[in-house]
Amino acid sequence: MKAGSFEWHPARSADEAVALLAEYAPQDGRVIAGGQSLVPSMALRLAFPAHLIDINGVEEFSRVRVEAGELVVGACVRHAAFHQPVEPGPLGRLLSRVVHDIAHWPIRQRGTFCGSLANADPASEWCLVAATLGARMVARSVRGTRVIEAADWFHGIMTTALADDELLAEVRIPLLPTGSRAGFYEFSRRAGDYALAMALVAWRDDGGRMREGRIGTGSIEVQPRRIATAEALLDGRPASAEAFAEAAAAVSAAVDPLEDFHTSAGYRRDLIGTAVRRAFEQAGD
């Protein structure tokens, strides 16, 4: 568990970071921020980057702000930043609920929100948030800046639309409108483990009826996604146990669960239904 040799390139500005990336990406260069996934895989010698472009010293990347109805999360914003709501609305409260299920306290002090999006682990809580709430990923390179919609971002297990020379500079999440309710539930073997199933739900309360319902699943398939057939069951209905159960059943029916040696597809299908229902039951404003 000792990493192979690599060269370390600290960047002090976003421009320098993308310039270094342009230079070293073709030579097996990688960006490192919190390193909570990359460093263990280097230690296990599953990853052998020849160059690491370290963006921890780029000050503008550490900022989180609200801008034009979106929460903008910079490339080096740590998970721990979300322990308290980062904005006063329902989104800030939702994210501070979700963050407590991300690994353990020490990991949350170092790991980053954008790092999770770039890593695109199927069991990432932030990826589920991005997919369900329709976040937009801002990719920078020496070639310019482009914005990638959540629907186009995920390309399967730990694969994204980001090009080798691009850096995920920030993620923009639309704020939840006033009157929104949102809930999150994940199931894992132990506190802090990777989830075996997780669900995020959100809707706008319209005089007791559900509108603009969103149901997202994570840790079930190769990437997080919304389940349109289940969302369609919500529109205009009261937030009731019956509606939640129907939506949960629709999710279970719609997913194509991953299987591994520990966890069968059938068990996961069952779990996601439970997770969706509990996410609804625990939803708050």
Partner: protein, 791 residues
């Protein structure tokens, strides 16, 4: 968690004709002496130690579960500029396979492991080569350059599977063991009911916080090969490693330093330890090896994997007439230092606390293509207690008796001691020294509020919760003898040094020995320094294993301290005080006259100074305020206990939450109740791991899937329930003066049994749990089967 002091003895009241009845420190929860360096970053773990010019060794491990080695290519590694050497099996062909401890079990020799694989590899993780470099990173680079060409062979991954070929002409069934007494056929024939359980324990093990490591070098000033990092049994292992690498034992010394957890696995003789010592000898340079966590999970001893089929023959009142048991033991790829001790203990202790007139057990000890297995805290007993207690729960169901009542009817009565069983465990005849099982059960039920707990469970069930209670009754064995020694010396400042052959693996051995020595000698326990784990300071020592240190080393320490006390008093009486020895005592480190209270005493340091070599002290006997002491035990001690769990099951996910855990334990005499409780709570945590979380899983090709802490799930503080400990001293051992019994394994032995029973109770399906660990997926499948059966 709450502490409960010894309940049955009043302060100052003791048993067993003690020569020195004063008790100032024994029995008190005094704070640990060993902690200051540990909590201030001054530990001497092997990873902290370095010598100039040392080489770093890295092991290249097989990625094949079973294969014939065609060739190992080391050329790329040798060509690397940082390479200082590469060895394969051919380079260590002169080193015999690693020995196991003496045993009467025949036929295990062909299954021993060579320090580097020869013609075949038999598990993923088996050492096939070692590389040496100046830098541990380069060593790891070199290891990646070594490749093996091999011809795969079929793998056997279960002790239940038909045996195959270990080597040409040699079966993977290494040995079939048998123990029996009484007429089991008659018991089965005469039984009113024969109850059978078929249960399995998964493969898991002790996973110490500190990985294995060794640092060896030759000290040319003494021509001694020194090895740092060995715990558990330094003397025995020094002798064994010396024999393997061709040195005399006197030219080799092991130093233990600090050890980050032992649990039976750390400190065994592994190929890597021998390789490190051999390399120091061959390179004549210090050689350091520290494994990483992945290696630890791949190559350190695994344990526990057993399949038990147990049949109980009961009369019409639910009393046992006999038990007929079979055991399939997954030994893994090789027989390591423990030989067949684990299945031996499982077979020998299965009938536990019960009076069983007839017993027959057959153990099939089978080799598989997985990491070799050996002892882990409560070896054999965690497994057999689980099997036996599953049987008792099944019998309760079959007879319509409560789970308490079926046990009460079968416990060995307290007037039956010494209680012999006509069989051997580890080549020792079984004789239980003392016990009051029913008495402990009564106390435990009152202490934990069993009635209220049952009412609470009933109320919560009525409210829709899935909660249940379960119990595991167990008997331990401790104080494995037969003999241990210690040396006690008082210096001229009155400070006391105790040199023991024990090992400190975190259990508090320094503190406990200091308490015992302080009371025997009459000094403050903080003035006692305890040395352990050094083969150069004491010629013999049997380390720390099998819950033996307090009983055996404690017995020896007490004898040595009493000898020093006698010497001090006799010398003082003759040369320093004008008084007969009967009028002298040692109080708080001073020799005082008992007939003249208040008169200033003579500090022990002055007595030590007066005992410096001189014609007078030579004439007295021998100089120095120092003495050895030897302790011989009349037999093993048998502490016992009851584990009780309250669990809540989430029927939708299959998740089990342990809400409360209760341990009642009779220890005979608790030297330091706080340390006993610490041992117990730690043991419970490990037991919960084996019952609910930890499992070494292999795929169908023999590829291990649990090689990081993301896949091998140890319980964390988040999964730990409140643990309530009741310590009693109702059955002191007659085998030593203080009545001591061991504590090391008390917390773990009954956990699997209690958790399985509690889950059964929570889900309302008798005999449901037949396999540990109970993972959420397995429990969910059980619940779905039940639902399918009902509709």
């Amino acid at each position: 968690m709450s502490a409960h002091g010894p309940s049955s003895l009043k302060p100052g009241e003791r048993h067993n004709g003690d020569a020195n009845p004063r008790r100032r420190f024994v029995g008190q929860s005094v704070t640990r002496l060993e902690d200051p360096p540990l909590v201030t970053g001054r530990g001497t773990y092997v990873g902290n130690l370095n010598f100039p010019h040392q080489l770093h060794m890295r092991v290249v491990r097989s990625t094949w579960a079973h294969a014939i080695i065609r060739s190992i290519d080391v050329s790329a590694a040798l060509a690397h500029p940082g390479c200082r050497g590469v060895w394969t099996g051919a380079d260590v062909a002169d080193i015999p396979p690693i020995t196991f401890r003496p045993t009467s079990v025949k036929g295990l020799e062909p299954y021993r492991q060579y320090i580097l694989a020869r013609d075949r590899v038999r598990y993923v993780g088996e050492p096939i080569a070692v590389v040496f470099a100046e830098d541990p990173y380069v060593a790891e680079d070199l290891a990646d350059l070594v490749t093996m060409d091999a011809e795969p062979l079929p793998v056997i991954l279960s002790a239940d599977a038909p045996p195959g070929e270990f080597a040409p002409g040699l079966s993977t069934e290494a040995v079939v063991m048998r123990k029996a007494f009484g007429d089991i056929e008659a018991a089965l024939r005469d039984a009113c009911k024969v109850v059978e359980v078929d249960v399995r324990v998964g493969r898991h093990s002790g996973v110490p916080m500190e990985n294995r490591g060794a640092l060896a070098r030759i000290d040319h000033s003494r021509d001694v090969l020194e090895c740092y990092g060995q715990g558990k049994r330094p003397h025995a292992h020094r002798d064994a490693v010396a024999a393997l690498i061709g040195r005399s034992p006197a030219s080799m010394h092991f130093y233990e330093g600090h050890i980050g957890g032992g649990f039976g696995v750390r400190g065994e003789i592994y190929p890597e330890d021998v390789l490190t010592c051999l390399a120091a000898q061959r390179f004549d340079r210090p050689v350091k090896w520290v494994e990483d966590r992945r290696e630890n999970l791949l190559a350190c001893n695994h344990s526990r994997e057993q399949h038990h089929v147990v049949r109980g023959a009961f009369d019409r009142d639910g009393r046992l007439l006999g038990i007929d048991a079979k055991l399939w033991h997954d030994q893994g790829a090789y027989v390591r230092t423990h030989g067949a001790r684990v299945p031996d203990m499982a077979m020998g202790t299965l009938i536990g606390t019960y009076h069983v007139p007839a017993y027959r057990t057959v153990g099939y000890i089978r080799m598989t293509h997985k990491t070799p297995a050996a002892t882990y805290r409560s070896p054999g007993r965690f497994e057999s207690t689980y099997a036996c207690e599953r049987l008792m729960d099944a019998a309760a169901e079959a007879f319509g008796l409560s789970r308490i009542e079926i046990r009460r009817r079968n416990l060995i009565p307290k007037d039956a001691y010494p209680y012999a069983r006509a069989m051997d465990i580890l080549d020792h005849p079984v004789e239980l020294d003392s016990g009051d099982f029913a008495g402990l059960l009564d106390k435990a039920l009152v202490h934990m509020g069993w009635e209220q707990m049952q009412a609470e469970v009933a109320a919560r069930r009525a409210g829709g919760e899935c909660v249940g209670l379960g119990m595991g009754f167990f008997m331990e064995k401790s104080g494995l003898g037969p003999v241990d020694g210690a040396k006690v010396t008082v210096d001229t400042r009155g400070k006391v040094q105790v040199i023991t052959g024990a090992s400190s693996i975190g259990q508090g051995v320094e503190t406990v020995m200091a308490q015992i020595a302080a009371d025997a000698l009459g000094v403050e326990y903080r003035d006692v320094k305890v040395i352990h784990g050094r083969t150069d300071l004491l010629e013999y020592g049997i380390g720390s294993h099998a819950s033996r240190a307090t009983v055996m080393t404690g017995g020896a320490t007490r004898m040595a301290a009493l000898n020093v006390r006698r010497k001090a008093l006799e010398f003082a009486a003759r040369h320093m005080v004008e008084a007969p020895v009967e009028l002298l005592d040692i109080v708080e480190g001073q020799v005082v006259r008992v007939d003249r209270p208040g008169e200033p005493g003579i500090p022990l340091g002055k007595v030590a100074a007066a005992l410096a070599p001189s014609p007078e002290t030579v004439a007295f006997g021998n100089p120095g305020l120092t003495a050895e002491g030897w302790f011989e035990t009349a037999g093993m001690t048998h502490p016992y206990g009851i584990h009780t769990a309250l669990v809540k099951v989430d029927p939708e996910t299959g998740q089990v939450k342990v809400e409360r855990f209760h341990v009642a334990y009779d220890i005979g005499c608790a030297i330091n109740p706080m340390l006993v409780e610490g041992q117990i709570v730690g043991g419970v945590a490990q037991g919960l791991g084996g019952a609910l979380y930890e499992e070494f899983v292999y795929d169908e090709r023999g590829e291990p899937l649990s090689v990081t802490f993301a896949d091998y799930l140890m319980p964390t503080i988040g999964e730990m329930p409140t643990v309530d400990v009741l310590l009693t001293e109702d059955a002191p051992s007659p085998n030593n003066a203080l009545g001591m019994k061991g504590a090391g394994e008390a917390g773990i032995t009954g956990v699997g049994a209690a958790i399985a029973a509690a889950i059964d109770d929570a889900i309302g399906i008798p005999n449901a749990i037949t396999r540990l660990p109970v993972t959420p997926q397995r429990l969910k499948a059980l619940l779905q089967e039940q639902r399918a059966g009902r509709t």
